[in-house]
Amino acid sequence: MGEENKVILHGVWASPFSKRVELALKLKGIPFEYVEEDLQNKSPQLLRCNPVHKKIPVLVHNGKPIAESLVILEYIDETWKNSPRLLPKDPYKRAKVRFWTSFVQQQLFDTMFTVTKTEGEAQRKAVKEVSEKLQVLEEGIKELFPNGNPCIDSQNIGLLDIVILSLLGPHKVQEEVLGIKIIDPEKTPLIFAWLTAINQLTVVKEATPPHDKLVALLKFLRENSLKSSA
């Protein structure tokens, strides 16, 4: 890889936000250098590249840094125009994709974190909220999959698919660790089929850490949270 088009991704393997960018780069076949950051000891490059938030992921393209995973994804799509296109061409369809991406990001992410990090009444409340939000999403994506069958492949996968994957792709891991059903194929058949389809892509499988590693990670994060709130 020459100096022309040099791409570096500062990320953390356990972060869903980092995973989104990694996946987008791999799906588009963009060669990049990956720098695993230690969040307890962030590199000077990271702090220089994202002085406002000091967070990952940060993409550095030809020396110029971009922060915020969704901003990075749109940048990738506008800079490398090969397939898969992460956003549709039609402005109304783009608005729809951005709307549901925003919904998943703002309505589901934090509530899912609460589910994984709490227990008892707080967890029950959060689980109920996730369930309600998933019903809204199930209704909403019907117009994105009009024949009721999400056929996702490496050529048509897009922004919303990547974002939903980053949150709920590992739902089986979440269900195993928490002992709670998150994606019920009877309550949300479309979402279940959608996630199954995305999880089957080769690029996605290769980018997903092994099941046991993810289970161990989630257990660790959950125990830490419960301990610190006790």
């Binding site: 002085p51 901003v71 749109e74 783009r94 608005a95 925003s102």
Partner: protein, 227 residues
């Protein structure tokens, strides 16, 4: 029948983001004022998920969210442009728009604004601190280089995203009896506010200050009385 309809509420800086985009591009539209305590069936039909304003309806198709609508407008009516054409500059614009969206929640007339109204106390201090941090970041990182606007010489979606700081913040400060923004502490921001409000379309399209002050004062009194 109007091709473009906009549902909004006069108090909302999010509503104004869309008004500015439409007017700067010279797009005619029909404005439908919503009573946020008594939302119309039409609004609920167009935005069933969030039931919020603003909602743009173009040829019968609804588009929601005050950061998504301007991007849609930009894509359908590209001139004059409100986003840079260079992908990297666009990414920088989107970064700041997201920042504005995340941080300005305290200045929207939502329940969280009541934190500013507490006569004393931790909640108000926290809210003030939060806003100060936002202003400092805008000053130190967003406006470096003595730029006229966030994107350079021309007004863009980023400036419009920060509209609440240019106009709404002052009214909220007055109603709450607080002084958060001090011009001498934020010289770049002060310049930006002046530049922003001098753009004719912006100047002519700002929510009535006195009307809003009266509303916020009333709300504050109700809040303090109910404690």
């Amino acid at each position: 029948m109007a091709v473009v309809k906009l549902f909004g509420a006069w108090t909302s800086p999010y509503f104004y983001r869309v008004i500015w985009a439409l007017k700067l591009k010279g797009i005619p539209y029909e404005c439908i004022e919503e009573d946020l305590l008594n939302k119309s069936p039409l609004l609920l039909q167009y935005n069933p998920v969030h039931k919020k304003i603003p909602v743009l309806v173009h040829d019968g198709k609804p588009i929601c969210e005050s950061t998504i609508i301007p991007q849609y407008i930009e894509e359908i009516w590209p001139q004059p442009s409100l986003l840079p054409s260079d992908p990297y500059e666009r990414a920088m614009a989107r970064f700041w728009i997201k920042f504005a969206d995340d941080k300005l929640i305290l200045l929207a007339l939502s329940p969280s604004i009541s934190k500013m109204y507490r006569a004393s106390g931790e909640e108000q201090e926290k809210a003030v601190k939060y806003i100060l941090e936002m202003l400092e970041t805008m000053e130190d990182h967003g406006l470096i280089g003595g730029k006229k606007f966030f994107g350079g010489d021309k007004i863009s979606m980023v400036d419009m995203a920060f509209g609440a700081v240019a106009h709404w913040l002052g009214v909220i400060e007055d109603a709450a009896g607080l002084k958060i923004f001090e011009a001498h502490k934020f010289p770049r921001l002060q310049s930006w506010i002046q530049n922003f409000k001098e753009v004719p379309i912006i100047k002519e399209n700002l929510t009535d200050r006195d009307k809003m002050f009266a509303l916020l004062k009333r709300r504050r009194e109700m809040l303090l009385a109910s404690k």
